[in-house]
């Protein structure tokens, strides 16, 4: 609580990226529905592309987070977690 760890900072940064992506999608759907009808690629419209993109983006950001947290883990979680961790 007292000092913000690097995991927390990373989490918040990734959260901000996703918030931006999701927020743009919702605002676009609400205020520029015409744009969602456009078919930029392969005859598939923006609404479908963006929707799939949001799902893929969530997984990609989650994997990035998991990967960076693991490389940080030895310094970060030394304190209490080591008691429960056999390795």
């Amino acid at each position: 609580m007292k000092k913000i760890g690097s995991n927390v900072r990373l989490g918040l940064a990734l959260f901000a990226i996703y918030l931006l992506l999701y927020g743009s999608f919702v605002l676009l759907a609400a205020f520029a529905p015409k744009l969602m009808e456009k078919t930029p690629l392969a005859g598939v419209n923006l609404a479908v592309w963006y929707g799939f993109g949001l799902i893929v983006a969530a997984l990609v950001l989650a994997l990035v987070y998991g990967w960076i947290c693991r490389t940080n883990a030895p310094h970060e979680e030394g304190g209490h977690a080591s008691a429960g961790e056999p390795k």
Partner: protein, 579 residues
């Protein structure tokens, strides 16, 4: 819609239930202590827990509700998929690790870690109970819906069967077996949804230029039901609603497409014309109600973009309040996941923060994959002659039936275990809140470990029975829509308190208690006074509603945050004196 049961479907279904119960009893022997009962001793491997997240989260709303909504209206149902998944980002990046670090059994433990305040325990326990109950209603409705076509039994029987099976699972074994049931169900659901999607793509589309005739359902004042003028039934001289769903025109006038690629599926549909069904209800002076379902050929390009359903029609409206209603729902879905009690308790079933993180990532992977498939399954149901115009919740199982009876039996059985998995998680969360948070803080005595487990079992039976009753009352509502309510209440009551506790050092215990109560009651009141509730629950005209739009989130979530800040600032001195 009337349904014949098939012996094969019943056999597969019973096998599933038997296997599920078998696992429960076997594992139940291990859960004697309260740590075993509520959080499976914190010993669940992270991968299993991750798939169990999917099993817990992909409820009847996702499988039946979203697929049904897509089958009826197109893209709009997929907006729910997007919102439900986005919520996991909040859960992983903001909530997962602190929840694991601060709590032991319940969400209230984590909130209360710094303060030891009975007020927080009571408020958080109460909100857990309310959210769980709201979330239980659509699961129970879904259960009834499933049993109808499968076993040919009435809705209420389905609800009672699920209630009985789930109460048995929860009472005998608690979190250990609940987790394994959810793991199996999560894995099967994702696997068979993928198989179904491949089959949809392999079959492709077929055009049938003959547009089917309108269908009517008359409910007379005495309660008799006439289908297209004939009494409801499957025999000679009796009528039943026909399953529908056709493409009237394919691109460049071809009759069938043959197998399609995953992107070709959308580009073909984009240029086709699909027959949707418009519903109109007419009330006559003699007390009878006539519902007419008329076919309405619709361009595919319109089906593949948001705003076609009544729920999201606001997107295409010029009125600001209609747009706010949509923004409000999307905000509630985003904030709701990380505030759902049955999801939060799953952070206590793993051993440490790293495992909590890893299992969330596995959860996001499996849940995200499933949500991509919902668009294929929903549109597949819309175009494959499998739709039931009277009930949007049946799209996925009926789609499976359009392939063959085996698939129908398996998909229905999986959908049924879907309900079982989610309902058992919810009942454990609710009974944990009753015993851990409410009873200990109100009765002011420490129960023995054994006594706690016994009290939790009794609480589970009571919560389960209440859920059964509510499931029967709300029979006709789209299950996904009801889940939207639960998300709104959870996001308004729990998220502001949790986030402020984690990131704002000046938060006080009074601030947290007030935020939970204000968020919960304001969102609940908003829903009860909204146009949707007036129309669908009370049967009153929608214009007479007292709030300007139906979804509360955009007002009540900020209200929750404001409450924490104002009350914490006002009570700051008292808090410091205690510290």
């Amino acid at each position: 819609m009337t349904h014949n049961s098939s012996p094969l479907a019943i056999a597969v279904f019973l096998l599933f239930v038997a296997v599920t119960l078998g696992i429960t009893f076997y594992l139940g022997k291990k859960a004697r202590s309260s740590a075993g009962y509520f959080v499976a001793h914190g010993q669940i491997p992270w991968f299993v827990n991750g798939v169990a997240f999917a099993g817990d989260y992909l409820s009847a709303a996702s499988f039946l509700g979203i697929c049904g909504m897509i089958a009826f209206y197109g893209y709009d149902g997929f907006l729910y998929s997007i919102g439900y998944l986005a919520g996991w980002v909040v859960a992983l990046f903001v909530v997962a690790e602190p929840m694991k670090r601060l709590g032991k059994f319940t969400f209230a433990d984590a909130l209360n870690a710094r303060f030891q305040s009975p007020g927080i325990k009571r408020a958080a326990g109460l909100s857990t109970l309310v959210v769980s109950l709201f979330y239980l209603i659509p699961q129970m409705v879904g259960a009834g819906v499933l049993v109808q076509p499968l076993l040919g039994l009435p809705h209420w029987v389905g609800v009672v069967i699920v209630g009985a099976v789930v109460i048995t699972i929860v009472v005998t074994a608690g979190m250990v077996s609940t987790t394994w049931v959810q793991f199996i169900k999560g894995a099967l659901l994702v696997l068979f949804s993928a198989i179904l999607t491949v089959m949809i793509l392999a079959r492709g589309f077929e055009a049938s230029p003959n547009i089917p005739p309108p269908q009517t359902v008359v409910k007379t004042a005495e309660g008799n039901i006439l289908i297209n003028g004939l009494p409801k039934g499957v025999g000679n001289g009796q009528g039943q609603i026909q399953p529908v769903g056709t493409i009237s025109k394919l691109p460049s006038g071809i009759e069938r497409t043959g197998p399609l690629g995953p992107l070709e599926f959308f580009s073909t549909l984009q240029q086709s014309e699909i027959v949707l069904w418009k519903k109109k209800e007419i009330k006559s002076a003699d007390g009878s109600t006539t519902t007419v379902y008329t076919p309405a050929p619709t361009p595919g390009s319109q089906i593949l973009q948001p705003g076609a359903s009544p729920t999201f029609a606001g997107i295409r409206s010029e009125k600001l309040f209609d747009k706010l209603n949509f923004l409000s729902l999307m905000l509630a879905l985003f904030c709701g996941t990380a505030s759902l009690p049955h999801i939060l308790i799953r952070y206590y079933t793993v051993k440490d923060q790293a495992a909590a993180r890893k299992s969330t990532i596995v959860g996001i992977g499996s849940i995200g994959f499933f949500y991509v498939l919902t668009l294929y399954m929903g549109l597949g149901a819309m175009t494959s002659g499998a739709m039931d115009v009277t009930n949007s919740n049946m799209a996925a199982p009926l789609l499976a039936r359009s392939f063959n009876q085996w698939l129908f039996a398996i998909i229905s059985a999986i959908a049924f275990t879907t309900v079982l998995g989610t309902v058992s998680g919810l009942i454990i969360a609710a009974s944990g809140a009753v015993v851990h948070d409410l009873m200990t803080s109100f009765l002011k005595f420490e129960m023995s470990d054994h006594g706690e487990v016994r009290a939790a079992r009794i609480a589970s039976v009571v919560v389960g029975a209440v859920a059964v009753m509510l499931g029967i009352v709300f029979e006709t509502m789209n299950v996904n829509y009801l889940v939207g309510w639960a998300f709104s209440i959870a996001a308004s009551a729990n998220l502001p308190a949790l986030v402020m506790l984690l990131f704002w050092p000046r938060t006080t215990k009074q601030g947290i208690t007030a935020a939970i109560l204000v968020g919960m009651f304001s969102s609940l009141a908003w829903i009860l006074l909204s146009a949707d509730t007036f129309k669908d629950v009370y049967g009153l005209p929608a214009d007479s509603a007292l709030v300007p739009f139906s979804q509360p989130g955009i007002v009540t979530i900020p209200l929750g945050f404001a409450t924490v800040i104002v009350v914490s600032l006002l009570t700051r001195r008292a808090g410091q004196a205690n510290a």
